[in-house]
Amino acid sequence: MIVGSQKSIDELWEMTKDFKKVLVFGCNTCVAICHAGGEKEAETIATLLRMRAAQEGKAMEVDFTSVMRHCEPEYFEPVLEDLKKYDLILSTACGVGVNFLSDRTGNIPVYPGINTSFYGAVEAPGVFVELCAGCGNCILHLTGGICPIARCSKTLMNGPCGGTNKGKCEISKDVDCAWYLIVERMKKLGTLEKLAEVQPPRNWSTSRDGGPRRVSLEHIRAFEEQEAGKSDPAGGKK
């Protein structure tokens, strides 16, 4: 899932202070699970902003609400008209949600209420770890299921570098060295010899470096378009 984390109230205040009527709009999927932007946190942010406004002597109305997801229109469309009653929507969805909503609220701005951090797992309640970078070309089969792109601070494909220290990465004692984990894991799997091969430079064009990515599924689109009357049932376009 997508993991988010809270922004400081100072930053949120700087963003919102010139608006009169603000809606903190929670997203009840990924960012709720990581306690960053679900309805509960939306309420917290709304309260903090009202308190800040009072401290600053500014009249500001701040409400909150939430929907299941900001990244699919069916979820927020039913409340779209309500959203438009505000001067600003502070979306606590991930950046995807903020972007997506921004295109659809007419002249009402949508600002980010949280930071979108990474794709992560819940290692323990309240602990979220980045495990994938969404590079678009998965090589986990080569690395014992441990991603060097997301988890090695240098995205090395032929690691480890010389910085591994007692199994930790050179950047911090609190960060595991991904390549240490890979080697140990592959030892356990009995596939260490796979690492002997030098991995050639990667093609990063499947990653962000290839520009914004899009996946469009023929079979789903065909159905949708057929439903919308854009193509005939046999599949040929009208």
């Binding site: 509960k40 903090l48 800040r52």
Partner: protein, 698 residues
């Protein structure tokens, strides 16, 4: 609407939750109650010191609430899930407490109800069943006339149940409620004698026969005719209407049921030193409630078990005693009543007066020649699906048709009949539209949960000492004082009042499953909170990131909604800091809240219900400091909530820090639960510390 979710909410939480609650299995106490009184809800209100709201919960289904608070046989208590832990909750005494606390409120509420329906209903008989029907019909806007042969209303409650158990003031409260709605009362009018049924049916659009069982059965044994042998109901009526019968030195009561107990104990109170009871059953088979037997024995009444009456022996016409024969068995193999006797084994029990208490029947002689048919066994013919007799527009309710039972069961029958009459008069179908009180209840408490519940003995109910109470018809039971009531209310596990998930908001994050101390939630596609596990602590609700959990018994956002009113306006020139104190009510309810005005008190069922957002809200409303005061961990009603509460307080400290406020403005404090005013010292200390920090300007 500022500060709220834009999703509008209508009405109070209780109103909103009521619908939700209906979709869920009932708590066993509620399911066991013949009118499904929401015990968990009113006990919860009592625990928070919200007695008037407790009254509303009770009274919404039970017009004879005060009566029940004194004499109900309380099936709720036998069903209570605490039975599996230690002892059942003292539901009836708590009801009494709530009613006593809300008397003024209740009286002030009484008012005439407009008769909007333009139709009139006659109710014959003013026992619990007739009263309940009259009450409901008046509420619906009908003109109601009660016909009662006795000089007062109340049926057996007024005419038979002795006042030492049911003080007439209690009964009067219930009756006044009903009568104040604008009901015509015709006491001292016996149908069939003073007015004919035909006259009644012609005068009213519908008639309800709720005449109960007003005749006592007698025995067909030699010597029974003549002075010195009395029947229970006439005897009890004498007692009730203060016509002191002459009983001699020794009274023998035949029978082993509850009525027999009332008879014997009334005889004791009439000054008879020697009262003996004789019954067919052994001590463990007696139909009377165990507690009634114990109380009778305390009062010096003796009981001869397993003897059957054979003949009344007289000397010069005066009763000498009762000849009894040994009982071999009372029930047959199918547990049907079918006594067998050892005719060789007889004896004489001496007595001056013998009172026969072996059952009641109804007096339906006035139905002769009417359209209301009577069956071959002398009972009114009726259809339980419509509550109607064989005559259209003539309805029945209560014991006249159901046979002997409890007052509250008669009231339940009254509710059904009122609805039936209403539907009939509105020309609507009755069958299938009457209220039923058979409801699915939540399963037994799993052993894994029961283990985690602290043993807390039931609060004792005190009685007037036996020597004293034998001399008076005054009530012999003391009600709980506030401290005892609050402690007892705190024992309730809130079954069925716990967490429910709004599936539209749940994203299956597992938070609730992870934190529930009782393992209630099971998250698959969404969270399903198993009511038999849930203890309604509320720990999960504030933690749910989607705001998907509400508690049936309280609104998760209730604090936030009420805080502005609780804090009120904050004087900019104040000398004392405004403290918002969230106070655990578990041990003392609101009774220990002897705190100065500047401490704004927020009673909480358990601190586990407090959300970080509640703490922020308190500051938003202008608090200088916010205290969360919990009971010591050892006496906490729930297991394992401390760390969670501490974490929320910690989070709130961090958040107010972002606004430049000192972390010290929020504290998690522990009270001394055993002290009489446990919050005074902790709150004063906290207020001092806040004063040091200074008052907030904005």
């Amino acid at each position: 609407m500022s500060g709220a979710s834009t999703i509008e909410k209508k009405g109070s939480h209780r109103e909103r939750a009521a619908a939700l609650k209906e979709t869920r299995p009932y708590s066993p106490c509620r399911a066991a109650c013949p009118v499904n009184t929401d015990v968990q809800a009113y006990v919860g209100f009592i625990a928070q010191g919200r007695y008037n709201e407790a009254f509303e919960v009770i009274h919404s289904v039970n017009p004879i609430a005060s009566v029940c608070s004194m004499i109900c046989h309380h099936p709720c208590e036998r069903a209570c899930r605490r039975c599996g832990v230690d002892e059942p909750l003292a539901v009836r005494p708590l009801k009494r407490f709530a009613l006593e606390q809300s008397t003024e409120y209740r009286r002030n509420k009484r008012h005439l109800i407009e008769k909007t329906k333009g139709k009139s209903v006659a109710v014959i008989g003013s026992g619990p069943s007739g009263l309940t029907s009259a009450n409901d019909l008046a509420d619906l806007g009908y003109q109601v006339t009660i016909y009662e042969r006795h000089p007062v209303l109340g049926g057996m409650l007024a005419a038979a149940i002795p006042p030492y158990r049911l003080p007439r003031e209690a009964l009067k409260e219930d009756i006044d409620d009903v009568v104040s709605k604008g009901i015509e009362v015709r006491t001292g009018v016996e149908i069939g004698k003073d007015i004919s049924l035909d006259e009644i049916t012609s005068k009213h659009d519908a008639v309800l026969i709720a005449i109960g069982l007003s005749l006592s059965r007698s025995l067909n044994i030699p010597g029974v005719e003549g002075p010195g042998v009395l029947l229970a109901i006439p005897f009890l009526e004498d007692v009730a209407f203060d016509r002191k019968p002459d009983l001699g030195k020794k009274v023998l009561v035949i029978g082993g049921g509850n009525v027999a107990m009332d008879v014997a104990r009334s005889a004791r109170r009439l000054g008879v030193k020697e009262v003996e009871m004789v019954c067919l059953e052994g001590a463990d088979e007696m139909p009377a409630w165990k507690w009634e037997v114990e109380e009778a024995v305390e009062e010096g009444i003796t009981i001869s078990h397993r003897w059957g009456p054979k003949a009344v022996r007289r000397e010069d016409g005066r009763v000498k005693g009762l000849e009894v024969v040994k009982v071999l068995s009372v029930f047959d193999a199918e547990r049907r009543f079918s006594p067998t006797f050892d005719n060789a084994n007889t004896k004489l029990i001496e007595a001056d007066t013998i009172i026969i208490t072996i059952g009641q029947m109804s007096n339906i002689s006035f139905l002769k020649d009417s359209k209301v048919k009577v069956d071959e066994r002398g009972r009114v013919q009726w259809d339980p699906k419509t509550q109607m007799s064989s005559a259209p527009g003539v309805f029945v309710s209560g014991e006249v048709v159901t046979g002997p039972g409890s007052a509250i069961a008669a009231a339940a029958s009254g509710h059904r009949s009122a609805m039936a009459i209403h539907l009939y008069l509105q020309g609507e179908q009755i069958e299938g539209s009457l209220p039923t009180y058979e409801k699915e209840k939540i399963a037994d408490m799993p052993a894994t949960v029961a283990e985690k519940i602290a043993r807390e003995p039931r609060m004792k109910i005190l009685h007037l000492e036996p020597e004293k109470r034998c001399n008076t018809f005054e009530a012999f039971e003391y009600g709980y004082d506030e401290e005892a009531a609050l402690k007892e209310a705190g024992r309730c596990r809130g079954c069925g009042g716990g967490a429910v998930v709004d599936k539209n908001k749940c994203m299956a994050c597992l938070t609730c499953q992870r934190i529930c101390p009782y393992g209630a939630p099971v998250v698959t596609a969404w969270s399903e909170i198993r009511p038999e596990y849930c203890q309604a602590c509320g720990l999960c609700a504030p933690e749910c990131p989607g705001g998907a959990i509400s508690m049936v018994s309280y609104d998760v956002r209730e604090f936030r909604e009420t805080l502005p009113a609780i804090v009120g306006s904050v004087d900019p020139n104040r000398k004392e800091p405004v403290i918002v104190a969230f106070l655990c009510t578990h041990h003392l309810g609101t009774a220990g809240f002897n705190l100065p005005d500047h401490v704004r008190k927020v009673p909480v069922h358990c601190t586990s219900r407090i959300d970080t957002n509640d703490l922020l809200k308190a500051f938003e409303c202008g608090a200088d400091g916010v205290a969360v005061v919990r009971c010591p961990g050892s006496s906490c009603k729930y297991k394992g909530i401390e760390n969670r509460v501490a974490a929320r307080v910690g989070q709130a400290k961090k958040l107010i820090g972002m606004l430049g406020m000192e972390a010290g403005r929020i504290e998690l404090l522990t009270t001394d639960a055993e002290s009489g005013s446990p919050y005074t010292a902790v709150c004063a200390g906290f207020a001092d510390r806040i004063k040091q920090l200074g008052l907030r300007s904005k």
